[in-house]
Symmetry: C2
Subunit: 173 residues, 2 copies
Amino acid sequence: MANADMKDSLREKGVRLTRQRQILLELIDGSGKHLDAEELFRLAQAKDPKLNRVTVYRTLKMLKHSGLVDELDLMHYGGDQHYYETRLKQEHAHIICLRCGKVEEFFGEPLARLRKQVESHFGFEILITRTEIGGYCSHCQVLRAREMEHAAVSAELADIPAPPKSPPSRKRG
Amino acid sequence: MANADMKDSLREKGVRLTRQRQILLELIDGSGKHLDAEELFRLAQAKDPKLNRVTVYRTLKMLKHSGLVDELDLMHYGGDQHYYETRLKQEHAHIICLRCGKVEEFFGEPLARLRKQVESHFGFEILITRTEIGGYCSHCQVLRAREMEHAAVSAELADIPAPPKSPPSRKRG
DNA sequence: GTTAGTGCAAACCTTTTGCAGCTCT
DNA sequence: AGAGCTGCAAAAGGTTTGCACTAAC
């Protein structure tokens, strides 16, 4: 697990590996998903009921500034919160289905090309990149076509994606 | 001005062109910059002191759903608010200097390539894309190197960009 | 023993909502 | 005339801050 690498990296920086941080690191790195602060908080609380939400935010900020995790918006599907993932060696784009919320990752040469062109064109020193693509996955395209036959026309005219049937919504505990 | 096109597009949809909306459309389309809701609100208030902040939010949401404006995050430089620009025909990336806040736009073939690959690879129907690149512009690279010679070492170790000397900060009126 | 890190409560910023009244078409 | 919009007040959602206490090194 890259978990150990993260810990080494933090130790080198003189960051203390508190119990709370170990729990959070493990969760961020272990879960295959893109977690937001609230979800991470809930998972962490299961392991340590005393762990505070504020600690989650502070830890995420620290990890972001340390370059160990990347912050995503995922097209604000599901709200204005941020999502996090451990920083991979390989740059990739996030593809979000605006109907079902599924997130795919795309690794491909256009991203490296883009990076190089921006560097040479502007003499820009790139630290972070974020590419997000929103639309409908192949599965939802079919479902949507089916829905449209029956659904009210007003929504289609306004081009407002049909409200998700299952996924988001997050409230304070 | 594309302003007229926007109005036509809205009229077609049966959206009422109220005085408030005309003011806002003009500002979004006219200002060369990427405005956030608060800035837009301030500018709008100068033209009509009665215009409410809520109307700004409602109008932006409506324009976004109508596909007339795009919503940007600009790497959350300056806060968690969103920025807006009238939707251009040409896809482009936003390049944000994390030190001075300057935003450049990059039009180039990697973006179209990326789009095509994602469509064919996943059978994905793309509605919106957002590519943001954060780092240091050529100008700030020099300034930063100079600063580093004198600055405290702690900040460098933590890899935290030096706090901006001039730009952000936004408070409620 | 220091100093960084934590928990708690309260603040903060950005955005949304409910509702009565106004205004485009 | 009447649906669609607006303004106002209030709330919600997400994140940050101040401060006294705790724990990692």
